[in-house]
Amino acid sequence: MSNSHVSSLREPLVDGVKDLGQITRDVCDPLDAAPTTAWYAAFAAALCALSYGAVMVIHQVWTGIGAWGLNKTVGWSWDITNFVFWVGIGHAGTLISAILFLFRQKWRTSINRSAEAMTIFAVMCAGIFPLIHMGRPWLAYWVMPYPNPMGPLWVNFRSPLLWDVFAISTYFIISATFWFVGLIPDLATMRDRLPEGWRKKAFGIASLGWSGSHRTWSHYEMVYLLLAGLATPLVFSVHTIVSFDFATSVIPGWHATIFPPYFVCGAIFSGFAMVLTLMIIARKVMNFEGYITLRHIDAICKVILLTSMIVGLAYSTELLTAYYSSNHYERFAFINRIKGPFAGFYWMMVFCNVLVPQILWSERIRRDVRVLFVVSILINVGMWLERFVIITISLHRDFLPSSWTGYSPTYVEIGTYIGSFGLFFTCFLLFCRVLPMIAISEVKGVLSYARDDKNKESLHGR
């Protein structure tokens, strides 16, 4: 490519000598073959979890949210914890697809497609929790301002919970649009290589008659850039607005100006951990080790290390602010976090999110996928605990000691959470089987990256 920067310092983005046709075959061939036993096993497990979750949701809607372990003092717990957890996971996908695109980080090309898919599925999982928390989900459309015959009656535009509705729906629509725009050229690649049949027809409809015309590419690249430019502030706004749900209230432990950057950073941290988990599995199961290389894993680890330290800084800033504020209630909220009945969760969170990622300073560990898999799972657990700590521990001992309570989830809450994992993995496994998991056209564009000119000529068959 005319704009590739040949460098002796950088590793190639694609391992092994490949030509353009081989990229098409490597990505598309697994979609034509029958699924492996491992895939069937994983899909069956995901489907079981999804069905169990569906039963739990039906049970909860049928009996009301009294089926959960919430009480008068703890009005939000697993539901909102899971909501924030899933939204946060989604953020890494947008970060990879939009922000790394704007920064011209070409290593993003082989992981952006699946990271964006992860975003979409994670936002779907997140959306379930506020929806069922409404108690009457069939009236969910009431959160939208629509012309109605109930007199002048509108939603309250000054409420952070309504901002959240707009933020999450916009985020979902823009992420899905961005993903689809990126998919169009690859859908056309699939269409052109499939034999006649219903799959060719389906890909033909979905690829919208894409031909690879440069007159279209020229506009397409502009649109992709614009979408990246729009999605970048969007991703910051979404978790900022999620944090407003808490920060604009007067609960000690929630009412803090640090919340927007703290939440955004935590979201990127947890999302990258989930990307790492998924990529370690995908590169192995789908034989994509030449595309999702150790260089990619290494780069993901560096982002995790950076965001882990920002999150650690936020934890200590919170403690310092509580101490320095001299506010009785604020101080108590944090003493209760580190010494109260749920202190174990707090210290487990610090261990998973601040201490464990420190081992990523070692380059040897950043390239050892087995250790990294464990690290990524621990971070996922830690980030779930962070939201639980913020939400439940801040609530359970409020201003009046007479209303202090404990909290433990019922099997319905646990089942719904398991069900959300079922939904996520069902969607992700279907995606792996149906659509090209790697952005074919983008990888073709970076094939010559960091290879010397002589090699580049031979790659292109001249």
Binding site: M1, D19, L20, A188, T189, H214, E221, V223
Partner: protein, 171 residues
Amino acid sequence: MAAKTFVGVFDSDHAVLAAARAARKKGLDIRDAYTPFPVHGMDDALGLPPSWLSRACFALGASGLAFALGFQYWVSLFNWPMNIGGKPFDASPALIPIAFEITVLVAGVGTVVTLLVFRGLLPGRVSPFSGLGATDDKFLLVIDGEAEEALRSFYKEHGAVRVEAVDGGAR
């Protein structure tokens, strides 16, 4: 002799780019290039202006912003003013988050729809030259012209692996 359309099939992005540049220098009537990924430098070689979609995106975003702010002010000040804790009805900062989200939504989705409609990318459309591998590993340069022999030798000279002649259809 009627005008015909010729498709030169190339193996690499360098070759098709060089051929496109040479064709433009010679003043040939280049219809388009078809490539598996955007070949950078091709805009200049085909003489394409920068995409106007950035301006469309700005206009869409501006109208989304105006609509979202206008609607929220209309509801909060005139149609259904709600007194919440004595806070002002026109609490502008509280209207910003939704205004921002709607701006991004209208600009993003609107720009994509504009691209798809403007470039005729709609369900059911059939892609031209789809059998020639431009979505896989081949690079096509499509030139309209009458002088068949001259064009064929032009393509060969620039390293085309194959040259096809098709009847010139509508652009």
